[in-house]
Symmetry: C2
Subunit: 340 residues, 2 copies
């Protein structure tokens, strides 16, 4: 049965039929992949390419926890896919497929669903993947969007989180702290009054539309000893990368955008947002000294700025040092889902 | 840092640290698979076996929607994995790995988490798979357990939902309606007073602990033209299997347990539960006439009872006929998540 036409203004335009929801809004996202059976089967089929490994990661986003219920559907869709693609980026993998588990608080309006799936279409085209399956449910809880993303890479190319050695330099892509300030700007328009409209839009955009650093994949596989993405805060993720090693981080080496630099000049406590705020989805990459020139060349060729945060050392803790040589206290930095 | 020891009685034994939760309770479920990196990385790695395809399916279960919040943690764990393994069973695939997305309403008690993961361990060993990754989150909504399961089968062996032809006979495994009555018995101890304790326990068990028909995999791939599992009700799933074809179902052919037969003898409306109730997770299988003897032999060798529901025909609707020849009305049978 073909889906009912969109109702006119004033009438209730909620999608009350699950088959309608799937076939009208989700099936087009499969891009005709025969292994998805038009989302009319109970499972999806993949025939793996010889010589390539598969990489899996899954990070749901929940309204009120990871995004605001009032965020635009297209922004929500972007974030749902981007945070997962970012994990693949850190492993040197290329996304190619994803499963979508949509838990809706109520039957969705056609307008919302159309905007949400248009956002997914834009995101999946940006990241090079498509929908292969999943599930839709009504939930008494808040809107939750669960993505399990599947990537691939040449066999043996997986870049681990825990592979760094003493002497490896740690690089970070892009700039740090934008998303943490962006979250504040997005949720409280009165914050950071010193920033102009363009700077505020830039920061909010960094929070709402993180860009997975997928272009760095080949370079990571070739030259990185370890990598992960900065999702829980620079210091917390730096500690994960360092493992048993330590690093004395000169705060002056942390790459900051113009907007964050300005905010920091007005309020020194912005440093804490830079070090502990999450959601930047930049990559932290450990590179052995001998591979640094090739790594820098690869990053430049990929068009991705990288900054050297210093070398991993034995028998020192992770610490942060100001330009005047004094140390910044590290207790209670970072973010744990269970102890907030 | 090693996890804190279990607290003594009287103290608060909630797990407030996500790393503790993962390393203490979830990492053992990976069974040492090197591609899971002890759940200390952001992604899992699979090196696909040559000559085999991969099959993906994902069905979350939500407290208050798919199970009762008061159900035992081990029952919840079983169901979360079983409903997903059942979809693989219908495709002729063998589960080997799964991702787990746990959205908890509050930091869980150690006792609950230990029972839940013991239940997962039992279920994954029963189904032949292990945990490879996922995510834990706190949610303002109800407990939600999202499983994305990954199975494999010989290349080209995928059994589709829509592959049945005119003349194919439709078989169903086991008995139908048990879970629908089991849900009533489980939620209302006063229901079906005519059933004894053993019969009631049997029905509740069929609702709480559905058994995916994985043992039928080889036989399905060899002889089935189409298959799916009965999760949304016999008639609704039969209609899905039949597609444009129809079937005149003699109600006397529907295989019933002793308990359902007894309940039906006291109350004719139980027939509606049998035809429209979901959650049995039996398989509906279409088999071409020439393959029926081999299919029956394969099912017997696998120890799975199958019943012939009749042949698919052109130009007739799906209908149900009583032993006296009168037709049972079909309107409003089945279940749609969005129109309930």
């Amino acid at each position: 049965m073909p889906p009912a036409p969109t109702n006119g203004p004033g009438s209730d335009d909620r999608i009350i039929n699950e088959t309608d929801l799937i076939q009208t809004y989700l099936t087009p996202l499969t891009r005709g992949d025969a292994g998805t059976f038009g989302l009319r089967d109970d499972a999806a089929l993949i025939s793996p390419e010889p010589g390539r490994d598969l990489v899996f990661t899954s990070d749901p986003i929940i309204a009120g926890v990871h995004f605001f219920p009032t965020d635009s559907p297209a922004d929500i869709a972007w974030k749902a896919l981007a945070v997962n693609a970012s994990d693949l980026a850190a492993k040197g993998a290329r996304p190619f497929a994803y499963m979508l588990n949509l838990a809706l608080h109520e039957a969705p309006r056609r307008e919302w669903m159309a905007a949400f799936t248009a956002g997914l279409k834009f995101a999946q085209e940006s990241f090079g993947c498509h929908l292969i399956g999943g599930d839709t449910d009504l939930t008494p809880g808040p809107l939750s969007i669960g993505v399990t993303i599947i990537g691939s890479l040449p066999s043996g190319g997986f870049v681990r989180r825990q592979g760094a050695s003493k002497g490896d330099h740690v690089f970070v892509t892009g700039t740090v702290g934008d998303a943490a300030l962006g979250l504040k700007v997005h949720s409280d328009p009165a914050s950071f009054a010193e920033l102009n409209a363009e700077q505020r839009a830039y920061l909010a955009g960094r929070y709402l539309r993180p860009v997975p650093r997928l272009a760095l994949g080949d370079t990571l596989r070739a030259h990185a000893s370890a990598a992960l993405d900065v999702s829980d805060g620079l210091l917390k993720d730096l500690a994960r990368l360092a493992g048993p090693l330590g690093l004395s981080l000169d705060f002056g080496r942390v790459p900051l955008s113009e907007a964050v630099t300005l905010a920091l000049s007005k309020d020194a406590s912005v440093a804490k947002l830079v070090l502990a705020g999450g959601d930047d989805y930049e990559l932290l990459v450990a590179v052995p000294p001998g591979s640094i020139p090739a790594f820098l060349q690869g990053a430049a060729a990929a068009g991705i700025a990288v900054s050297d945060l210093g070398a991993l050392e034995e028998n020192i803790p992770l610490c942060v040092v100001r330009s005047d040589g004094t140390q910044i206290e590290l207790h209670q930095f970072g973010y744990d889902h269970f102890s907030r």
